[in-house]
Amino acid sequence: MDWLLHAGDDPVHKLLLMVFAIGLFVALMAVILFVVDRPRNPSRWFVGFGFTGIALLLLLAGLVYPAVRTIWTSFLFRNSGDFVGLDNYVRAFTEPKFLIVLGNTALWVLVAPIVATFLGLVYAYLVDRSRFEKFAKGLVFLPMAISMVGASIIWKFVYEFKPQGVDQTGLLNQFMVWIGGEPQQWLLHRPLNTFLIMVVFVWIQTGFAMTLLSASIKAIPTDIVEAARLDGLSGFGMFWRITIPSIRPALVVVLTTIAMTTLKTFDIVRTMTAGQFDTSIVALEFYDQGFRQNDAGMAAALAVLLFVIVVPVVVYNVRQQRKVEEIR
């Protein structure tokens, strides 16, 4: 039994365990399908549950139940089980430390999606149907493949600081030196540090915005474009009066999707500053409270807060998504 649970440090053991897990799963599936497929089984409900049952049970046990429990925990004091009502929420909205966290989160949700969408849109429009389109898109697209941790390290190196007089190794400070300024410790001061951390996120998400918006731009009927051209529209006028209105639903979907991602992302801030220098956001604070400060009540309250903020964004997103699909 222990062999199946703990693989220790042995890589071969780990790989064998992986193969075993997949094999076990396949066998389980085979048994279920075999039982479901017995022809003497008339009940459609039985067959339906055979196909959907595992998923439903997993979701119930692994998503619904824990979520309900977290909501309950958010009314408790730390890990004690003592009911304290809304205390954790009150703390979240009154203590200066958490106010900064909430402020930063608001900043993130308002700024990052707009900047990423805007850049993605402009870039998609600019390279659309140019000779280098595929290559140009690939460059902006590629950051989506790498982890947020990796992207953070790439950018941390850009922000690297060496004292004045020494050769700079970070690109941004080298630029400062080149244009005659002084090198700075970029991540120390609010709110500049939050914006510079956001750059990493925007850098990743712009590729997403670009891809979706590019597809929408290409889907604009050519007769509309031609008619506008005959009316004398070109360049910026075309972009503003034809392109943007035509892809409005897609724009909203992209914006809200990125906003959702923004709310849940904690990797970047954690890797860049670990939330120091007043850069923390709700998703990171949740992790800190729950797994470092061991304040389960507070962590739960922050998670619920995250949930409450996400819901309207998701609802709006789904509605717009329907519109986009209708247009297609």
Partner: protein
């Protein structure tokens, strides 16, 4: 951006291809527009190139000069590159990334395979089996996409502890599988709904049951959808930090956790960090480039998870 010269347009032929080429020339003949495009492209490339170049430089050079100086030194014929950093990062006793590489691999494969299989079955059930309560259940699954995984983590972890499986790969596989399900079921359901009813009916007339229809009619048609979701889930799991950090321990941590740790504890050791970062990136980038087509298709179908 309004300064696009209209004069170049009027003389071009209007065949389809000529038309496209003309538009292209127009777009990039605007100097502001092309400058902006180039600036964006540069900002999106140079930071990565910088770290990549750095990862091949000797430790001392990294500390004392900027990576952009290598091009000058290389022109003068100085040997400025080495693979030492990669050796240190992979096999050095204090970093031994090779172990974490194995972990990433072991974590990812089942965490992609299992949820997709479960979701395929469920999606088929919701799309083609007419059982009581189906619509309500499907809407419930769809709605679960709203739940941020943060809200589930603490109770899940304590459940794993009471089961005695905390800190094992099983918890990570299970967690990733659960979190993937709502989106996977929803997407695959949409794809399955698009399969023509006549195909399914024909198979049914031939005496095929649901299991047979699932394997012989659905699966072959769904390969692109599976590939699309598969690559998403692969990137999501391989690049994940949160689940790995919360559920795992030192023996299961994947590369992301290790590198995040190094960035915290040895933030100045850019020789290890740069090489380590690229070691963690190489697999997803290869998968991504190889399956880009499916990735884009999946993204347009709504396969995005926050």
């Amino acid at each position: 951006m309004t300064s696009a010269a209209p004069t170049t347009e009027s003389v071009r032929p209007t065949s389809g291809l000529g038309n496209r080429a003309r538009k292209a020339r127009k777009a990039l003949s605007n100097p502001w527009a092309s400058t902006l495009a180039v600036v964006i492209a540069v900002i999106w490339t140079v930071p990565t190139v910088g770290l990549l170049v750095t990862s091949f430089r000797p430790e001392l050079d990294i500390r004392t000069s900027g990576w952009w100086t290598v091009f000058g030194s290389a022109l003068q014929g100085e040997g400025v590159f080495s693979l030492q950093n990669y050796e240190t990062a992979l096999f050095g006793s204090s970093t031994n990334m090779i172990d974490f590489f194995v972990n990433s691999f072991v974590v990812t494969l089942p965490a992609v395979f299992i949820p997709i299989t479960i979701a395929l079955l469920a999606a088929y059930g919701f799309a083609w089996i007419d059982f009581k309560g189906r619509d309500v259940l499907f809407i419930a699954v769809f709605a679960l996409q709203i739940v941020p995984i943060q809200i589930t983590l603490v109770p899940l972890l304590s459940a794993y502890v009471s089961l005695g499986i905390n800190g094992t790969f099983w918890t990570i596989w299970l967690s990733h599988s659960i979190f993937a399900l709502p989106l996977a079921i929803f997407l695959l359901h949409n794809f399955m709904k698009e399969v023509p009813r006549s195909l399914v009916e024909a198979a049914r007339v031939d005496g095929a049951g649901h299991v047979k229809i699932f394997f012989t009619v659905m699966m072959p048609l769904l390969t692109p959808a599976i590939a699309a979701f598969g690559i998403f889930q692969f990137l999501w799991v391989w690049n994940d930090l949160l689940v790995a950090l919360v559920m795992g321990d030192l023996r299961t941590f994947p590369l992301t956790v290790r590198i995040a740790e190094l960035a915290g504890s040895r933030g100045g050791d850019w020789h290890v960090l740069s090489a380590g970062a690229f070691i963690s990136m190489v697999v997803p980038v290869i998968v991504f480039l190889a399956l880009q087509r499916y990735f884009v298709r999946g993204m347009l179908a709504g396969a995005v998870k926050g």
